[in-house]
């Protein structure tokens, strides 16, 4: 097993498995409860496949009432619960617990209401991200956040992870596109937040829920904002002799007041892997390749293509191509979109990291990453959401060679520490999960993390929902609630008073 340890299972719960199974079968009838080891294998991991664990029992409820009763039972009987959508988390957010019920929401798969006039779509959480767009595209609409797993990932999982995608610099993350949620607390209470209206007053629990990685509540219904598809989109493929030139070009595009629909950068190893795989026509003699996509009204896109061409030229681009057709635009993207499988071809295994850095630090971070690669004896290829500074280093390793996974994890941790050191963060869109859990102390102080865990206490005092994720140390809520007050001892002589 690898470096990240999960909490020790509760022997008492393991011993009560039969009793828990019967209770759950009484709530969710028929095939909605899975307890056969072979059938439960399908749930033992998510997209962080280095980690596997069979759950205690798998439950697939079909109604909000069932979700509520399952959670209330688990709450009353001190049984842990791991919620799961499509299981595409790259950070181990849906990794089961040996002593925990795995709550799959994939039977909640219906689109409930499409309201074009109010640009709102109400769906159940198991509907896929792309499924929302599919439901509205006949009227020219789409749902903007587009994580690369959008064919498979569920909107409930998108809420849990606050998913992004290629277009989020212009159109925002999940949190900026959600209008309403219905959720169930671990106590079984059903709570509705927001609606088809904007900015409900009262505490912004929508903000807290979005990106909470399944630790606060189980989402049973989601209302999202849809947008009319841009009239057109065109892309430029721009090659640079150095990553500094590429970085400066990105900064100059933004300084010119242009927010592209997508702006992706790849480094030389990624360019070569992608080109070998899909033959997208990428130049091989450049250090950095930029894809800039401009979307919007035709009149605007044509004008901005010209502006970006000028900016690229002024920044030493050695290679500039503008898509002349929709087919050519798709070809530009084909390489980038195939970057992960392309890297999968040149290496038996890879780890996909997800830090964000201030863009100006890109050349420094790439240089330091090369040093780290040499030290850990592993290769790395980089793809980069250049507009928002979200870096995805792909660390190449071979799980069959003893010690290589551990080396890859150590290399990844060093990269994320580097991101924090230059003013960035541990994760831009994949979530903390278990993968980055033990690095949280590199970004936050103990007090910062305690205040986050106090939020957890308001929702789930017993720490039963998805424990072992996000936080490296679990503090009991009673301990977190203690205050160390020193009455009459604080004369605060320095504060100006009137």
């Amino acid at each position: 097993m690898t470096a990240i340890a999960m909490p020790a299972p509760d022997r008492n719960v393991l011993a009560r498995r039969q009793e828990i199974l019967s209770a759950l079968q009484a709530i969710v009838p028929g095939e909605g409860v899975i307890h056969d080891e072979r059938e439960m294998r399908a749930y033992e991991t998510d997209a962080l496949t280095a980690y596997r664990q069979l759950p205690l029992i798998v439950v697939l409820p079909e109604t909000v009432e069932q979700v509520s009763r399952v959670l209330r039972y688990c709450h009353d009987n001190d049984v842990k619960v791991v919620p799961r959508g499509a299981g595409t988390s790259l950070s181990g957010g849906a990794l089961p617990l040996e002593d925990g019920v795995l709550l799959s929401m994939m039977k909640f798969n219906r689109v409930l209401d499409i309201d074009f006039a109010n640009r709102a779509v109400v769906v159940q959480p198991g509907v896929t991200n792309l499924g929302i767009t599919r439901a509205v595209e006949h009227e020219g609409f789409y749902y903007a956040p587009d994580p690369s797993s959008q064919i498979a990932c569920s909107i409930g999982g998108n809420i849990a992870e606050n998913s992004g995608g290629v277009h989020c610099l212009k159109y925002g993350l999940t949190t900026n596109n959600v209008l309403s949620l219905e959720m169930v607390l671990i106590t079984g209470e059903v709570i509705r937040l927001g609606g088809k209206h904007l900015d409900s007053e009262g505490y912004d629990l929508l903000a807290l829920m979005t990106g909470s990685e399944g630790l606060l509540g189980v989402v049973t219904e989601v209302t999202v904002r849809i947008l009319q598809k841009p009239e057109t989109a065109r892309a430029l493929l721009i090659g640079f002799p150095t990553s500094e030139d590429g970085g400066r070009c990105v900064a100059d595009i933004i300084a010119a007041g242009i927010i592209p629909g997508g702006m992706e950068m790849m480094d030389k190893p990624a360019i070569h892997a992608a080109e070998d795989f899909v033959h997208a026509g990428y130049p091989r003699d450049v250090e950095a390749l930029l894809i800039v996509e401009l979307d919007g009204p035709e009149g605007e896109v044509d004008y901005l293509i010209g502006r970006v061409e000028e900016i690229a030229g002024a920044n030493g681009a050695t290679h500039v191509r503008v898509s002349a057709s929709e087919e050519e635009r798709m070809t530009f993207w084909a390489g980038r979109k195939a970057a992960f499988p392309a890297v999968g071809r040149i290496s038996p295994d890879y780890l996909c990291m997800d830090g964000t850095i201030p863009r100006r630090e890109l050349p420094k971070v790439l240089a330091r990453m090369r040093e780290l690669a040499a030290r850990h004896g592993l290769g790395v290829a980089n793809v980069f959401h250049a507009g928002d500074g979200n870096l995805h280093p792909l660390i190449l390793y071979d799980a069959n060679k003893p010690g290589e996974l551990e080396a890859a994890e150590a290399f990844g941790a060093d990269i994320l520490r580097l991101c924090v050191e230059v003013g960035g963060v541990l994760t831009g869109e994949h979530g903390v999960g278990i993968e980055k859990r033990d690095l949280m102390t590199d970004m936050f102080s103990e007090e910062d993390l305690k205040q986050q865990q106090r939020v957890k206490c308001a929702f789930d005092e017993k720490h039963l929902l998805n424990p072992g994720k996000v936080f490296p140390v679990l503090h009991r809520c009673a301990e977190l609630g203690k205050m160390h007050v020193h009455k009459g001892q604080l004369p605060f002589p320095d504060i100006p008073r009137f």
């Binding site: 009319q228 605007e300 831009g428 910062d448």
Partner: protein, 396 residues
């Protein structure tokens, strides 16, 4: 001892709150005090005044990121980014004209605490959509950091966003990091005249559902800020693009009549008027801010006009209804009943005497499980209940 504490750094804020927590002394948290008339009146013996907690910590126009102390005047923040061709695209409204206090006041901390926005909310989001990170002092008197200083970050719970709109009842922000955006090259307004409310909101919703990238969609009925009804749509961006999209709207909304076009200055003035609710400025009638699904706006107003003498206009494509109760009544029951009847939403009493705001639910009452969760959240941040007690809900 009634004191006003005026800290000039985060450590002093921490000391003041620590003391207040130890001595069970509630604090009213203010910046310029320009929005003191919003929400319920706070019962606190002492004032924590953040207006000396000012200054820009870092501003990286190329990164679209700005970090400032929470007491920095909003006017100063807007001037700074404007000088770099950027803006706060959530377009925070100025409550000054409506509440009868000096215009142009307020701090960035206050803007975030009230989660302000403006007409551009429908395209670009509210204040909460632009916060990236925050340093704050909890009601426990402890400094904590959350979020980050980059535009894309999902590390840990999104506390900075959740603290927006909490009216200073959970924590006192000391430093905030915001996402800024490029300022559009030009702005123009597409104006249709003489439409009734149903037609107007229909036209607005069609425009919002088009690819015209509308950044303001409002309806001013006859008698509100002028004689004739005006249905207005704002277009912003590069000049060629604005011209192109104006034609798109012309084609799309042809059945609603021939449009007029307002240029830069007239457009700016009009949207400032809408943003700051100037049609209801200067009076003392009760004013409500109601958020509903856009298509429900006209129906809601129709129901209410049958109950009393009420004036209304619409922003956010019909979804933000500003109501002035010209008969002087509060109409809280009628407004909330009408909301229930039209699909739900939120009604907030934004202008009324303090005695009224102490006795009427100023914010939309919450169902019991939600109110319970909100109360537990408050207890986790502010167990002694010393930060702006009662500002949002009595006893919280």
């Amino acid at each position: 001892m009634d004191a006003t504490f005026k800290p000039s750094d985060a450590r002093q804020v921490e000391d003041a709150v620590k003391w207040a927590a130890a001595e069970d002394q509630p604090l009213e948290i203010i910046g310029h005090g320009s929005k003191r008339g919003l929400g319920r009146p706070v019962q606190a013996a002492h004032v924590l005044d953040l207006s000396d907690l000012t200054g820009v910590e870092s501003y990286e126009p190329a990164e679209l990121v700005l970090t400032v102390k929470a007491g920095t005047p909003i006017a100063e923040v807007e001037n700074l980014v404007d000088g770099n061709g950027q803006e706060l695209s959530f377009e925070p409204m100025d409550y000054g004209p409506l509440l009868g206090v000096e215009a142009g006041r307020g701090t960035i901390g206050g803007v975030l605490a009230a989660n302000l926005s403006g007409p551009r909310r429908i395209k670009s989001g509210a204040a909460r959509d632009h916060i990236l990170g925050m340093e704050a002092v909890s009601g426990r008197g402890e400094i904590f950091n959350s979020g980050g200083k980059v535009v894309k970050n999902v590390t840990g719970y999104d506390l900075p966003r959740a603290l927006c709109g909490a009216y200073g009842t959970l924590a006192v922000a000391t430093t905030v990091t915001l996402k800024v955006n490029p300022k559009p090259e030009i702005s123009a307004t597409f104006v249709l005249s003489g439409l009734g409310e149903d037609d107007a909101v229909n036209a607005l919703c069609q425009a919002m559902g088009s690819s015209a990238e509308v950044s303001g969609a409002a309806h001013l009925p006859a008698g509100i800020d002028g004689g004739e009804a005006r249905t207005v749509l704002r277009l912003e961006g590069f000049e060629t693009s604005v011209d192109y999209r104006f034609k798109t709207l012309e084609k799309l909304l042809k059945p609603f009549g021939q449009p007029a076009r307002l240029g830069e200055t007239a457009s700016r003035d009009l949207w400032r008027t809408i943003r700051d609710v100037k049609p209801f400025a200067g009076g003392n009638t009760p004013v409500w801010r109601v958020s509903v699904a856009p298509t429900a706006g006209p129906q809601l107003v129709g129901l209410l006009k049958a109950k009393g003498d009420i004036q209304a206009f619409f922003d956010w494509s019909g979804g933000l209804v500003w109501l002035s109760c010209t008969d002087g009544e509060i109409h809280d029951r009628e407004i909330r009943a009408a909301l229930d009847e039209t699909g739900g939403g939120h009604a907030t009493l934004v202008r009324a005497d303090p005695s009224v705001r102490a006795n009427v639910a100023v914010f939309q009452p919450q169902p019991i499980p939600l109110a319970g969760l909100a109360r537990r959240l408050k207890e986790q941040f502010d167990p002694k209940g010393i930060l702006n007690p009662g500002r949002m809900v009595s006893g919280v």
